[in-house]
Amino acid sequence: MKILFGNKKEDLLSRLKKQDPAAQKIFYEQNVKKFLSVGKSYITDLYQAEDCIIKAFCKIFKHIESFRGDGNLEGWARRIVVNECLNFIKSHKTVFYIDDINSSFLVEVQDDEITVDFDAQELLNQLPDAYRMVFNLYVLEGYSHQEISDTLQISLAVSKTQLFRAKEKLRVLYLQQQKTKRNEHAQR
C-alpha cells in the first residue's frame, strides 16, 4: 500500500509540474479544507481567509517547479498558505508588537486542568494580530523564535514576549470562556 501510495504521490507531483488541470483539481480537493483551517487560524474573517487560500493555490500551482521533491508536498504548500496569510495581515492591518516585558518575568505558568470542551478558534479570534501570528507560528507551525523573527522581521526578544503575552491572554480568555459556559449551563 505504501508503495502504491508513494507512486500515486509521485504521479500527482509530476502531473502538477506539467500543469495538468486534472491533477491540480485533485490536489485542491485533497487540501482545500485543511488549508482553509490553517488560514482561518490566522485570519478571523472566513471570506478573507478564502481569498488568501485562492491566492495560495495559484502560487502553489505556478511555483510547483521550485518544489524539489525531497520534502513533503503538503508541508511545502502549507508554508505558502501561511506566508500568504501573513502577507495579507501585514498589508491590510497595522500590527503593533509591544515589547515592554522584562525577560525575567517570562516564566511559564502551568495550567490547571484543561477541559477538551472549549472553542480554540474563538480564543484565537480574540487575540491581537501580533500575538496570534507569533503563537500560531510557534505552536501550530513549529517555528523557532529565530524563524519567527526572520519571517515577521522582528527581534528575538519581541518574538518571545509576544508568545508569552499570547499564552497569558489565551489562558485568561479560556477561563472567561469556561466561566460563561458554566453560567449558561447553570441557567439551563
Binding site: 482545500v32 472549549f118 478558534q121 501550530l140
Partner: protein, 204 residues
C-alpha cells in the same frame, strides 16, 4: 497537575490540526479564473512585447531611411544650383564684376600681374617718378574699389562655388609686394582714407 499534553496550547493545536473547514463558496472556479487571467495576462504581455518591437523597428526604419533620402535630394538640388549658374554667370562675371573679390583675396592672377608691373615700373625710376607711377596704380585700385558694393553676395557665393577657388587667404606676403610697401610706406598711409585695396594687397 496538568501534563504537557494537557496544556492549553497543545489543546488548541490539536483542535486546529484536526479540524477541516469547508469553503463557503466555490474557490476552485475562482482559482481557475485567476489562472486564466494570468495566462491571458502573460499572453497579452507577449503580444505587447511583439507589437512594441515591431513599432520600434518601424519607427527606426522611418526615422533612419527618410533623412538619408532627404539628404540625397538636397545634394542633388545643390548640385543643380551649382551646375546651372556656374557656366553662364561665372564665366562672364568673374572677368567683369568679381575682379575686386579676387584682388581682395590675393587669388586673382591679374593681381600678380599688376603688382609685378608696378614693381617693374618702380624699380628703375626715381622717387618722383615712383610717386607718379603709384598714382595711376592708386587710380586703378580706386577703379576697382567702387565696384565692391555693386556685387551681390549671392553672385559672390555662386562664383566662389562654381570656380572652386579656395576661400582662405594666403598667409604669406609676396616678397616683391612687401618690398614695394616698405619703399612706399608714406604713400600708402596717405591712401588709407580712401579704403584703397592696396592695403589688402600688402596683406597682414
Amino acid at each position: 497537575m496538568s501534563t504537557h499534553k494537557d496544556n492549553l496550547e497543545h489543546q488548541i493545536k490539536k483542535q486546529i490540526e484536526e479540524r477541516e473547514i469547508t469553503p463557503s463558496r466555490d474557490l476552485w472556479s475562482e482559482i481557475e479564473l485567476q489562472k486564466e487571467q494570468k495566462k491571458s495576462g502573460s499572453y497579452m504581455t507577449w503580444v505587447w512585447a511583439a507589437a512594441s518591437i515591431v513599432l520600434a523597428f518601424g519607427l527606426g526604419f522611418v526615422l533612419f531611411s527618410n533623412p538619408s533620402e532627404k539628404g540625397k535630394t538636397q545634394h542633388t538640388e545643390i548640385a543643380e544650383i551649382k551646375n546651372e549658374p556656374a557656366p553662364k554667370e561665372s564665366s562672364e562675371k568673374v572677368n567683369k564684376d568679381t575682379e575686386p573679390v579676387y584682388a581682395d583675396k590675393n587669388t586673382d592672377p591679374e593681381k600678380k600681374d599688376i603688382s609685378t608691373k608696378i614693381i617693374d615700373e618702380v624699380q628703375p625710376s626715381k622717387v618722383l617718378a615712383e610717386q607718379k607711377q603709384i598714382l595711376p596704380q592708386k587710380e586703378s585700385t580706386q577703379m576697382i574699389v567702387p565696384q565692391l558694393p555693386k556685387i551681390k553676395t549671392e553672385q559672390i557665393m555662386a562664383q566662389v562655388d562654381s570656380s572652386k577657388i579656395p576661400a582662405k587667404r594666403k598667409k604669406y606676403v609676396d616678397p616683391s609686394t612687401l618690398l614695394f610697401s616698405v619703399e612706399h610706406k608714406d604713400v600708402i598711409e596717405k591712401t588709407k582714407e580712401s579704403n584703397v585695396a592696396s592695403v589688402d594687397l600688402n596683406g597682414k
